[in-house]
């Protein structure tokens, strides 16, 4: 079960939880099981088949360019962060 | 507006060229004589990127009309470079990593030559005072000042 940290502005929709353990082998799969628990959260994180523009996903401390396709392990820690591209903010 | 014929000496060679009456020396050098080593940074005399020597005097070529150089001597970065090798200032700028983007570099080297021609052994304060009309946005001037002092040593 990967640990997903729930962004503050999404906690209201997620029963006030700050983090949640979810099943899934990819970030996309985690978000699907998140959606199953709390309908509506997906639409806040995902646009079509990609992460919401301006939103980045960090798995175990590293920004994941693969976004939804990024792999996660049972022990992974997942964060949704403001996407920053060094000198090139979105 | 009809063109004017200008006869001058540029980098030691006779240069006859046509210019518009309102045209600056900077544009005549870059667009007519194709000497693009002299750079345009602001076109109002506040950055020194277009520094050249006019009868040996350091000036901003953006503040000189091309027509004014009739019968006069102009030296640009191209004229400062020897046939073989580099001018000591050019060499020291390289060895001291005194350039980053390099756009201000020709202006700094021309200005530094004007300084060393007059004052072969300047202090750091004298270098900073003389070069205050040349802006660099990359280096913080540290390595530029060191390069000029090294060339003077």
């Amino acid at each position: 079960m990967a640990i997903v940290f729930i962004p503050p502005l999404l906690r209201e929709r997620a029963g006030g939880l700050r983090q949640i353990e979810l099943e899934g082998a990819t970030v996309g799969a985690l978000i699907d099981s998140f959606e199953a628990r709390f309908p509506g959260v997906r639409a806040r994180l995902v646009e079509g088949s990609r992460m919401m523009p301006g939103l980045g996903v960090v798995v175990d401390g590293e920004v994941q360019p693969d976004g939804l396709r990024a792999a996660v392990t049972q022990a992974s820690e997942v964060h949704f962060v403001h996407a920053v591209r060094g000198g090139c903010p979105p | 507006m009809s063109h004017l014929v200008v006869n001058s000496t540029v980098n030691g060679e006779p240069a006859e060229f046509l210019c518009e009456p309102h045209e600056t020396l900077l544009h005549a050098l870059r667009d007519t004589l194709l000497l693009t080593g002299t750079k345009e940074g602001c076109s109002n005399g506040n950055c020194g990127a277009c520094s050249v020597l006019l009868d040996g005097v350091l000036v901003n070529s953006c503040l000189v009309l091309a027509a004014e150089v009739e019968g006069r001597q102009v030296t640009t970065i191209e004229g400062l470079t020897p046939r073989e090798g580099l001018h000591p200032l050019q060499q020291q700028f390289l060895e001291n990593a005194a350039l980053q983007c390099g756009i201000c570099t020709p202006g700094f080297i021309v200005a530094s030559k004007a300084l060393l021609d007059r004052n072969p052994h300047p202090t750091e304060a004298e270098v900073r005072h003389f070069l205050a009309g040349n802006l660099c946005r990359c280096t913080g001037y540290d390595k530029i000042v060191r390069a000029v002092l090294a060339a003077a040593a």
């Binding site: - | 750079k39 750091e124 913080g140």
Partner: protein, 760 residues
């Protein structure tokens, strides 16, 4: 991480490969391009900060002899509200497009309205002045307070507040609100024994590169677009042109010229699509447009003015228990300020258990903000480090002491969630403590000249990104290295050095060149302090592959197994018995299997974040408010310095820009939103006389993820200076400056107010 002591090239200071061209004036920058049959473009820009465009009459301009084409916003393909990733992060294409040529509304003073191309620059300028535009002038919104007021008119009817995907109901100038939260901030402040709460302001500043933007574009009869321009990222230019003009990227070749500074301001296109349209309308003649300095300051990305509120709570022993931050940044005319990055910077150096950060991206009638060296970081650190200095004084703690006590380390959780890997923040503090600048007492004040010392720290993320390169081994043993990373400050050489080290040849045998978008694989822009890290890593891999292949070739010549062959000091040897010089192997490549050409591409990870701590001595003339910088020392975790001189140069340059931002640089607008200081005379960047020598102390905590331990170094140096100088001014005068720039007029007013307050 390889054994540093073994390095032959890395850590040396060779002359840069492009150096001779740049000291002789032969290097070609944007405005130096000259194409066959080239004509010249000029822009018409809005004289109003906010106005509806009722009509544009170009007939007089078109009638002028010598004019070849005229374009307006109507010539740009209509843009859907599409979010595209053009390689520089997500951008709304319609916004990007209407920033290049205004649509129905001019949104800032200097907003491009129309453009002309003519046979001479003089004619083009005259023609632009002949374009008649009918405006309906609208009231401008010029600051955060006005933009965020509940009853403020919305700049864009289609922009609503985005809160993590939750869209607001009504149009708003607040394009985005986000929050970071960690722990329980209420409990944290309840546990605090000392609380400091302050509000800071910062002005709009510009990157200030000396080379104005310039683009020369030819729209060929075969539909192929040839683009020469000065840019930080040729591939980003290609994709932005492609999206804006609706052309397939296969029709666009971008040829990057040398670039006269960028600092984040040359990531996006401004002129290129306009020159392309002018060229097409002019029957395919190449069109060159070069901005004036006024255009550069008025219409290219400055960085955001901001208001930042910081509240710290701490126990008496100096342990931070909580922090709360409210930060609003001006995006300018279109959404996308660096407030997100600023929110990641603002508390990053410290391990604070309870944190809330709220960030706001706010529209106003100023040019669209763009990246500027550690975007959003300087604003944030000025506020946070000023407040921390006040807290330390309230606790009678030294500035280093309080930072050490709360310093982030490996394993510290950032306010936005992720945990730091190995970082070198503590090492930068220790380096300051060891430095003679810190250990020597400051010569004290005399008369109206008051001296003070200040310290501040800073953080920057850095970025890895994607790089590609290719290498060809030449028969004479040299290697042609083909890259796509714009070289702004010596990266050709820092990359060539890593390649030479990896392959095992002298760096002067490497011929690095930056090529066009058709001649090398994809590269992200030179930005985010990524190039020496990422492109350097790519060429390291190429060097290893070539080394392996050359050993195999040498083995053939030595009639032995590759496993038996070593390559040291330019010689391949088969144990003690036989050896063969490198040059002979490269000369005979054709007889041992043919040429060696290796390409490699990587989407890098593991860019290490960067920390810096700066110490500055200032002298304040309390009768005039003027501040002079007496001494400056910057310590920084640089990972492993490839070319120390250019690492020092990055630090010195960042500090210089930070000092300018701190003391004098700011956009000054009149009440109608006209920019009053659009020039180098009154937009006051530091001259040689405004700066001392800047001592750059390289603290090397190698990045474990990079083969040579490289970390990005270019951006973090601009983060601490404003805070350090504010703290030094307080130390000198007892007056706390709450707004940037800390200009003489502002300082004098604050000093007099304080004196009056003291007198009362």
């Amino acid at each position: 991480m390889s054994d540093q002591t073994a390095f032959k090239v890395i850590g040396t200071r060779p002359v840069r490969h492009d150096g001779v061209d740049k000291v002789t004036g032969r290097a070609l920058y944007g405005a130096d391009v000259r194409m066959n049959g080239q004509i010249y473009g000029a822009m018409l820009r809005s004289p109003h900060a906010h106005a509806r465009i009722l009509s544009i009459d170009t007939s007089f301009a078109e009638a002028l002899p010598g004019v070849k084409s005229v374009v307006t916003g109507a010539d740009l393909p209509a843009m859907a509200d599409k979010i595209a990733d053009t390689g520089e992060g997500a951008v709304n294409l319609r916004h990007l497009s209407s920033n290049i040529l205004a649509g129905s509304t001019a949104l800032y003073w200097g907003h491009a309205i129309a453009a002309v191309a003519a046979t001479t620059q003089t004619i083009a300028d005259q023609a632009a002045a002949l374009i008649r535009v009918e405006y309906e002038v609208l009231p401008p919104i010029l600051d955060l307070a006005a933009a965020m007021a509940p009853d403020a008119a919305a700049l864009h009817a289609d922009v609503v507040t985005n809160e993590l995907g939750e869209k607001g109901k009504a149009p708003s100038n607040v394009a985005e609100h986000f929050r970071h939260e960690k722990g329980d901030v209420a409990a944290g402040f309840a546990a605090a024994e000392v609380v400091i709460e302050r509000e800071y302001k910062t002005g709009t500043v510009h990157q200030g590169y000396i080379e104005p933007h310039s683009a020369t574009v030819q729209w060929n009869a075969d539909g192929q677009l040839i683009v020469y321009c000065s840019t930080q990222g040729s591939f980003g230019v290609r994709s932005e042109i492609s999206e804006i003009l609706g052309l397939p990227i296969s029709h666009i070749k971008v040829i990057p010229t040398e670039i006269g500074g960028g600092f984040g301001g040359k990531l996006n296109v401004y002129l290129e699509p306009v020159a392309a349209l002018l060229s097409r309308k002019a029957g395919g003649r190449a069109v060159k447009i070069t901005m004036s300095r006024i255009d550069v300051l008025a219409a290219t990305g400055p960085t955001s003015a901001s208001i930042i509120k910081v509240k710290y709570g701490a126990t008496r022993d100096g342990r931070l228990t909580a922090a709360q931050v409210w930060m609003a940044y001006e995006a300018g005319a279109f959404p996308g300020s660096p407030v997100g990055a600023g929110s990641g910077v603002i508390l990053a150096p410290y391990d604070i258990p309870n944190v809330v950060i709220d960030g706001y991206d706010v529209l106003c009638n100023k040019p669209k903000s763009n990246a500027y060296r550690a975007p959003g970081g300087t604003n944030a650190a000025y506020a946070a480090e000023s407040a921390l200095d006040e807290l330390a004084r309230a606790l009678n703690m030294g500035p280093i002491e309080i930072r050490l006590k709360n310093a982030a380390k490996e394993g510290t959780r950032r306010a936005d969630g992720p945990v730091f890997p190995r970082i070198g923040f503590v090492e930068t503090l220790e380096a300051v403590m060891r430095h003679p600048h810190y250990t020597s007492a400051l010569e004290r004040s005399s008369g109206p000249l008051r001296r003070g010392r200040g310290i501040a720290s800073g953080f920057w993320f850095n970025f890895g990104g994607t790089s590609s390169a290719s290498a060809t081994v030449n028969p004479d043993g040299t290697v042609s290295l083909t890259e796509g990373s714009t070289d702004i400050g010596g990266s050709r050489t820092s990359i060539a050095m890593q390649f030479a080290e990896s392959l095992g040849i002298p760096v002067d045998q490497v011929k690095p060149q930056v090529v066009d978008t058709d001649s090398v694989g994809y590269n992200d822009a030179t930005g985010g302090s990524r190039t020496t890290f990422a492109t350097g890593w790519v060429v390291y891999e190429i060097g290893q592959k070539i080394r392996t292949e050359l050993i195999a070739r040498a083995a053939k010549m030595l009639e032995t197994e590759p496993g038996q062959v070593s390559f040291e000091n330019g010689v391949f040897s088969n144990g003690a018995m036989k050896n063969i010089p490198y040059a002979q192997v490269t000369a005979d490549l054709d007889k041992t299997g043919g040429p060696i050409v290796v390409s490699h591409s990587m989407r890098t990870r593991g860019e290490g974040t960067a920390f810096a701590t700066h110490i500055v001595d200032v002298e304040v003339d309390i009768e005039t408010g003027k501040v002079d910088i007496l001494r400056y020392t910057a310590t920084q975790d640089v990972g492993h310095a490839i070319h120390p001189s250019y690492v020092e140069g990055q630090i010195q340059g960042g500090v210089a820009q930070g000092i300018g931002w701190a003391l004098n640089e700011e956009y000054i607008y009149d009440k109608n939103g006209k920019l009053l200081n659009a020039g180098f005379l009154d937009y006051r960047m530091p001259t040689t006389l405004d700066l001392p020598m800047i001592d750059a102390v390289l603290v090397e905590v190698p990045n474990p993820k990079h083969p040579y331990g490289v970390r990005g170094v270019g951006e973090v140096p601009i983060v601490p200076p404003a805070g350090a100088i504010a703290n030094a001014i307080f130390d000198a005068t007892g007056v706390r400056m709450m707004e940037l720039p800390m200009s003489p007029a502002r300082n004098l007013a604050a000093l007099e107010a304080a004196a009056i307050a003291a007198a009362v």
